[in-house]
Structure formats: C-alpha cells, structure tokens
C-alpha cells in the first residue's frame, strides 16, 4: 500500500530548488496553488519500523533543503494522506492560513535553548530534601529565563517557553541572519549552578505557527 507523505509548505518563487530525493529514495513532488507550494512523496505504508531513524533524517533533509531557501511550514513525519486527491483537497481548504503564516514568518527562524538539571552524584535525597531542591532549581530556572529574555530583547521577536520536569525549553524567534548574534548572546549568559544548557537552531518556526495551521481540521474527521 502507498500513501502520500507531506514534507512542508512554502511560498513559491522563481529559482527555488527542490530536494532531489525524499524518504526511502522516493521522488519529491510539488503540489502548487496560488503562490503556495507543498512538497510530498508517494511512500510505501506502513513504514518499515527498522528504518524509521533513517527516514527521519531523510525527511529532515527535504525540509532543511527548502528551509535554507526561505520559511517553511513543516509537517510531522508521520502525517500522511490517503492519496494525491486528499492532499490537493487539504491544500485548497487550508491555503489561506498557510499563506498568512508563511508571510508572517518569512524572514524569521526559530532558535532553541534547553535548560536542564545537571545529573547529581551522591546519595538519594529524602522526600523533603528533594522537594526543597526542586523548588530551588525551578526558581533558578525562572531567573535564567528572565535573564535570557532581557539579553535577547533586541533580536528576539517572540519567546515561548515550555516547562518540563527536567527544566525548560525556550523557543526564540529571530530574524534570519541573526543566528550568530543569538549564539554569542546566549553563550555569554551564566548558567545557574546545577544546570546545564544546550542550544540549537536555526529551525523552521514551527513553535510559532498559528493553531489552525499546526492542527488543521480535516473534513470528515473530528
């Protein structure tokens, strides 16, 4: 059985090149409608579970190739459509929302900073000690996020934070071309004791997509 695997949507313009090969060597094809392009491949389904990591890297390669040339709205790897007609119907139904988001994010990229608790050696703390330590760590994490947002005031267009049980994940929207400025600013920020931080990017600005684009409703489905 085959299905249609969608990679990403983008604003069509002259001179844009498409990745020559997609997941599992499938041809990358373009569906276009009024200035919006959508890349997809016809793939064998279900995926071979033993090759999922390779497929993820190949999928990432297709999206990255487009992202290097401009803003994209990435699809998730496991988002598949039944057939080309279903994909075309989707494009017609959601064209306007995708265009709005792509124009809004046209010259922007997403940088990320993950702040997490560094592993602790030593004896296991008591329940009270654990809670006290956790409260202190959360306070330090909040201070770091505040410092980060102040340091990035000039280049950060928008910041979003997701808390996790290990710390926090911070998404920063910056203009394309400001990635090195971002790195130099973040590298200078002191990391709170007992924390470690890691940053990555640029990524497509997926965290900043509107809800209707991120989770579109499809006719006939709840």
């Amino acid at each position: 059985m085959t299905k249609i695997l969608a990679y990403c949507a983008y604003l069509r313009r002259p001179g844009v090149s498409l990745s020559p090969s997609g997941v599992n060597g499938a041809a990358v094809q373009e569906l276009a409608l009024d200035g919006l392009g959508l890349l997809y491949s016809q793939v064998e389904w279900p995926f071979d579970d033993t090759a999922l990591q390779r497929y993820a890297v190949e999928f990432h390669g297709v999206v990255s190739h487009m992202f290097a040339q401009g803003a994209v709205v990435p699809f998730r790897l496991l988002s598949v459509f039944e057939d080309p007609q279903a994909l075309a119907d989707f494009l017609v139904a959601h064209h306007a929302g995708f265009i709005v988001d792509l124009e809004r994010l046209q010259n922007l990229v997403q940088m990320e900073c993950v702040l997490y608790f560094a592993p602790q050696a030593g004896p296991r703390p008591s329940g009270k000690e654990y809670l006290e330590r956790k409260a202190e760590l959360l306070r330090l994490a909040e201070e770091f996020v505040q410092s980060l947002s102040e340091a990035l005031q000039d280049i950060g267009k928008e910041i979003r934070i997701r808390e996790s049980k290990n710390g926090g994940r911070i998404f920063i929207l910056v203009e394309r071309g400001n990635e090195e400025v971002f790195r130099s600013i973040v590298q200078k920020l002191p990391v709170p004791e007992r924390f470690a931080r890691r940053f990555s990017g640029p990524w497509p600005a997926a965290e900043f997509l509107s809800d209707s684009v991120k989770a579109p409703q499809i006719a006939g489905q709840r």
Partner: protein
C-alpha cells in the same frame, strides 16, 4: 528601546525533550534533535494509522496519540542505544 519580546508560558507538552538531553555525544544529540523535530514540530494531521516501531505494533485512532506513544518508544530506543543494545 522597544517593548521587548513577548513571552508566553506553556505547560509541558510532552517529555520527549528529556530524550534529547540524554545523548552521550554531540552526534547523539543531533540525531535526537532531528527525531524530536520531525516527530513533534509542525503540522499534525489527524487520522488513523497502524505503526510498528521497535518491534511493537501501535494501533491508534488519532495521530496525536500516536505521536505521544512514539515519543515513549523513542525514549526506550534511546535508552537501549545508550546501553549498546541497538543493532
């Protein structure tokens, strides 16, 4: 000086980032970063599918649910990898 960036605080969406933090080398982290982004970031199409991952058949009615389960599977996969069990 402008008004500065807007800050929005969200509750934890999932714990997959914990996987991305457990890589033992830059290469591990990079692969896990990619897995994290291609599975968790971007447009999610609601649908039904059957997926077999790491030898476990996963049958779900909604892709959101599948993605959560994939995260768990990948976390186990990463743990196996760290222990050198992965083929």
């Amino acid at each position: 000086m402008g008004p500065g960036p807007r800050i929005l605080l969200f509750p934890m969406q999932n714990d997959f980032e914990a996987v991305a933090l457990t890589g033992t080398s830059d290469e591990d982290v990079s692969l896990l970063d990619i897995l994290d982004h291609v599975l968790n970031a971007g447009v999610v199409i609601h649908g039904s599918l059957v997926l077999s991952l790491a030898g476990v058949d996963l049958v779900y009615l909604g892709l959101n649910v599948v993605l959560t389960s994939v995260e768990t599977a990948l976390r186990n996969l990463a743990a196996d990898e760290a222990r050198g069990k992965l083929r």
